[in-house]
Amino acid sequence: MFNPRLFILGCMLVLVAVGSLTIGAASIPLGELMLAISTDDVEHTILFDIRLPRTLLAILVGAGVGTSGAAIQGLFRNPLADPALIGVSGGAALFAAGFLVFGARLGVSVTGVAGSAFFGGLLTTWLVLAVGRRGGTISSMLLAGIAINAVALSGVGIFSYISTDLELRSVAFWVLGSLNGADWQAVGIASLIPVAILLFMTRSQSLNAITLGDREAGHLGISVSRLRLEIIILTAVTVGISVALCGVIAFIGLIVPHLIRMTAGPNHFVVIPGSAILGGLLLLLADTLSRTMLSPAELPVGIVTALLGGPFFIYLIVRQRGSLGL
């Protein structure tokens, strides 16, 4: 199903990706990009070992978080829902902070932070699911997510309180999100995200049906409990991988599905792939800004996404009064 709007978005993503490869502490002009690919000098190293993996990671993570946001908003029938609501980000942050404080003291390697974050994300998601099931309704799951997130974030606060200055800096940087650690290994792990996006896409029909309500979706032949489990597991894995590799990326999961719905309508056959492309595009833009604004220093990308996303979202709410489906 060809959608001209998604095609334009896709073209924009390619352009921004090429642009981001040229910009940085050391500039590689567009004309020399091809040369840098074929030669074996320092520009080749910058391009292949630093910029390309970082660009790819930004696209993959942005796509994953954007798609998860679209699916979670559809599942909860709530345009204000965010992937963080199922507890995955809070849990990942808690375990990562715990690892950064205690793991560093025990001399464990940095890859353990990603592993702990992923495990923490899945564990809290399972907790949210279990509590939500006891409550019986989708609202009880939402409330469980809010409560468990609050507990997880207070845990992050405790770890920050007992950490040394150096540990505190790593925790803060990680919680604010950064693509600083991008390498080919991270891209390899993140290559699971497109698989998850494809699986999300196969649930588009069911997500459309569930916007009518749980009972109505059931009458249309959709097993709501199964769909809920599938979407939550896919979101936990996608966001879990993203948070594990880059920390918490604010706002992309919330704002991207809105932008797609406003420009291309609420049909999940468009919203899911559209959120993947736009999520990748926005995170890549934010990351390019974060590493060039204060170059050679860089801002955590989560600060940039929230700083740009927040006011823009307010502008949309004011301009589009009522049409956000709120």
């Binding site: 559809g74 029938r77 709530n78 345009p79 029909q205 459309n208 049906a209 916007t211 009518l212 309500g213 009972r215 109505e216 059931g218 009458h219 249309l220 032949g221 959709i222 097993s223 719905r261 309508g265 609420p266 049909n267 049409s323 489906g325």
Partner: protein
């Protein structure tokens, strides 16, 4: 394609809402469920829809136990309109109607069916409007359209279950809806409709199910149910029955 309700009892949260209800309706029947508020009308409809499992008894359609079918199997030929329907995202009226085709994997004739239903429900001018901006009655027509779309091409295999479909509709659209339902039942579709308007029920239904406090008070043709004293007892009101030659069916007037 007989609809058989055999000694059905249902509970919700341990409370018995339906007790020992039995009746049968032949294929192509339009069955009206009437009764006071909280009498178990919606519970009965939900049980027929396969949404509530009876604690005893059996519900079958075309000799198939409704509760032994998977959701996907049931959705192929059973379409249900709940009492209230909300939509969280700004789909257009035509998109909502088209959602009725979700259970049917084959996309054949999908566009034509949606177009036919939009025309039948007089939604042509509203088809591109965002659902959330429609009036209550327009939303109801869109939801009914979605339900009709689900079984539009199923004819005699289809079972249409509507819970208070006329609530938000004006008189002209109420009549139009019942004419549509009658056309479908003439084609072999069976329909069960929960109604508050007894006069509409008397005029269009082949059979009426009168329930009160979860029990079946009366079942039969409109005149049979009307003549029984249970109707007045169930509602706790005084009724007078009238008939005119041109209407072809009796109607009631509520007395003090």
């Amino acid at each position: 394609m007989t609809l058989k309700i055999a000694n059905v009892s249902c509970q919700v949260d341990g409370i018995t809402l339906l007790k020992g209800v039995s009746f049968e309706a032949a294929a192509g029947s339009l069955v009206g469920i009437i009764g006071p508020n909280g009498s178990g009308k919606t519970t009965l409809l939900r049980a027929i829809a396969g949404e509530l499992n009876p604690v005893e008894g059996e519900i079958s359609y075309a000799n198939v136990n409704m509760h032994k079918l998977t959701l996907a199997q049931r959705a192929q030929w059973v379409a249900v309109l709940p009492q209230e329907a909300n939509l969280s995202f700004p789909f257009s009226a035509a998109e909502v109607v088209a959602m009725g085709r979700i259970p049917h994997v084959k996309a054949a004739h999908r566009g034509q069916i949606v177009a036919d239903v939009l025309e039948e429900m007089q939604l042509g001018e509203l088809q591109d409007r965002v659902y959330t901006t429609l009036s209550g009655g327009e939303k109801q027509r869109v939801q009914i359209g979605r339900v009709l779309c689900q079984i539009w091409d199923m004819q005699e295999r289809a079972l249409l279950l509507l819970d208070e479909p006329t609530t938000a509709l004006d008189l002209a659209h109420q009549l139009a809806l019942f004419k549509t339902i009658r056309r479908l039942t003439d084609g072999g579709t069976s329909a069960v409709v929960v109604l508050h308007d007894i006069n509409l029920a008397l005029r269009y239904c082949d059979k009426l199910v009168l329930i009160a406090e979860g029990h079946l008070m009366s079942f039969g043709g409109p005149r049979e149910v009307l003549q029984s004293t249970q109707l007045q007892e169930a509602f706790g009101i005084n009724l007078s029955v009238h008939e005119t030659d041109d209407l072809g069916s009796p109607f009631i007037v509520v007395r003090d």
